[in-house]
């Protein structure tokens, strides 16, 4: 398969996954674009299953994006500047205002918790989640149950 074929075959799937993780389509497109750039750089000949490779890279990119977005926001809040969020991880899913409670609740979670929750929901196995987030497989269960707990609390809080 050549690069173009891999691109057409995987693009939408990857975009969907990235958008699900980030809740932001523009950022998701950037991540997917970046993954393909890296694929091109690495060279197809060295990669056995490109689609699995791409998925892994996209997950990693999303995770680091989430973390850097989180720290950017904290920085901005520290200096008392209102965060400029026209186009960021918090950019809304639906409308001008974010009416999706799930998205709101998710964005209140720590990136690691959010990733575990979303990856598990996407059908990932514990060892895959562990390797994507660089954590121990044995702690996935604990993080998952806590993340669900927090998600529920945040969601209920918002729904009030």
């Amino acid at each position: 398969m050549n690069f173009n074929e891999i691109y057409t075959e995987n693009y939408t799937k990857l975009l969907r996954q990235a958008a699900f993780l980030l809740g932001d389509k523009t950022a998701a497109e950037d991540m997917v674009q970046e993954a393909f750039i890296r694929l091109n750089k690495t060279g197809l000949s060295t990669i056995e299953t490109p689609s699995a490779w791409l998925t892994r890279v996209v997950n990693n990119l999303c995770y680091s994006y989430m973390r850097s977005e989180g720290s950017r926001r904290r920085r901005e809040e520290k200096v008392g500047r209102q965060s400029v969020e026209e186009h960021s991880a918090e950019q809304v899913v639906l409308n001008k205002e974010d009416k999706n409670l799930t998205h709101q609740a998710l964005s209140k979670l720590q990136p690691r918790d959010r990733m575990v929750l979303l990856l598990k929901f996407s059908g990932y196995k514990y060892h895959e989640i562990a390797s994507a987030l660089n954590i121990n497989k044995s702690s996935v269960g604990t993080i998952l149950s806590r993340a669900r707990d927090r998600f529920k609390k945040e969601y209920q809080q918002l729904g009030r």
Partner: protein, 364 residues
């Protein structure tokens, strides 16, 4: 054996432990009430979290698909359905106001002397109306353009009179407490067994009253010519959600399960002296209602007893033992609802196919 931590039980539930661990965990579970409780809590938590996640996922997929139609192959479009909440949610809002304004959604008058003073509506059947997405969007747009931000709280007051609560009980107790006869499917797919505990959901009651002036101002903003009568001012409507039960069927040795729920139809009580027909008219006369939707809604004769479901892509009309219902499938999640004799039933589950779901439903 010391009690394992939550994380271990979570892994156990997710089938992420080795065969040996599984064995010893099972043995421990047999004799440890405490851990049984933990497992139940974890399972309930997952059940709680999954629906909003599924909804969110489909909103995202819609968003990705909409813009990508031109870029990618046509067969990449995922299936949609009623669970496409991005749109459906707006509908919930519209439908909710429909209850207030017209009673379009639901509920048959009780046929006795009381009916003259008090109208009670109750769901007896389900009907779908066809709406295309474009019209729906147009309508949402119209709402937005004409009204900007409407604070719903301005329109009236809502008060929860009785909180709905739910508890897990043994089947016998649930049967005792239910206001109608508890039913069980006689057909269950191979390997599935009913969980010994059943969730009992108790009645809840909410009351709301409208600020007629505000509502009329909004109606006017929407270009309406028919308004609510001043006599409605301050009168309370009440919504009674009736009791119901949720039973779960678990597949042995896996996490797969499906749920079967049965609820007595919720009732809406309209205050004395209010003619629901006038309310309905006010809504049907709204100029921004797409014409063919108006016609469809107006054509529903026993509107007081009909639950209206927008027939989006993926929603299929089905008949279960002679009763109308709907079937929706979304990301391997099958959902089916029908009404029989004033009771609303649903069967839902992941990885349950259409034929199986229908078979289960028919056996009830």
């Amino acid at each position: 054996m010391q009690c394992p931590d939550k994380g271990t039980w979570q892994a156990f539930l997710d089938d992420e432990v080795t065969a040996t661990e599984k064995k010893s965990l099972k043995i421990h579970l047999e004799s440890c009430l405490c851990c049984k409780k933990v497992i139940n809590e974890l399972q309930e938590l997952e059940n709680w979290c999954d629906p909003p996640m599924a909804e969110y996922q489909s909103v995202i997929e819609d968003m990705v698909t909409e813009d990508n139609k031109n870029k990618s192959k046509p067969n990449n479009q995922p299936t949609g359905g009623i669970l496409k909440m991005g749109k459906a949610k707006k509908w919930v809002a519209v439908a909710a106001s429909a209850v207030v304004l017209t009673g379009t959604m639901a509920f048959a008058p009780v046929q006795d002397a009381v009916a003259d003073f008090l109208s009670i509506f109750r769901v007896q059947k389900i009907e779908t109306v066809k709406i295309n997405t474009e019209e729906l969007n147009k309508m949402a747009q119209a709402f937005e353009n004409k009204l900007g931000e409407v604070d719903l709280q301005q329109l009236g007051k809502m008060e929860i009179v009785e909180q709905i609560d739910q508890q897990m009980l043994p089947l016998a107790e649930v049967k005792e407490n239910l206001s109608f006869k508890f039913k069980q499917p006689s057909f269950v797919p191979e390997g599935y067994e009913m969980d010994e505990k059943v969730q009992l959901v108790n009645n809840g009651k909410a009351e709301f009253s409208l600020d007629v002036q505000q509502v009329n101002a909004v109606l006017k903003g929407l270009g309406a010519n028919t308004f609510l009568p001043q006599s409605l001012q301050g009168k309370s409507f009440s919504i009674n959600s009736q009791n119901g039960a949720v039973s779960k069927y678990l597949k042995q040795g896996s996490q797969q399960h499906f749920s079967f729920t049965q609820y007595a139809s919720p009732e809406v009580t309209v205050p004395e002296g209010v003619n629901p027909v006038d309310l309905r008219k006010a809504l049907l006369d709204l100029p921004l209602l797409p014409n063919d939707l108006r016609t469809q809604l107006a054509a529903i004769e026993d509107w007081q007893s009909t639950m209206i479901i927008p027939e989006a892509e993926g929603v299929e009309d089905i008949t279960i033992n002679g009763n109308d219902g709907v079937y929706v499938e979304n990301h391997n999640f099958a959902y089916m609802m029908w009404v029989d004799d004033g009771i609303i039933y649903t069967v839902s589950g992941r990885n349950i196919d259409r034929e199986t779901a229908i078979k289960i439903a028919q056996s009830i």
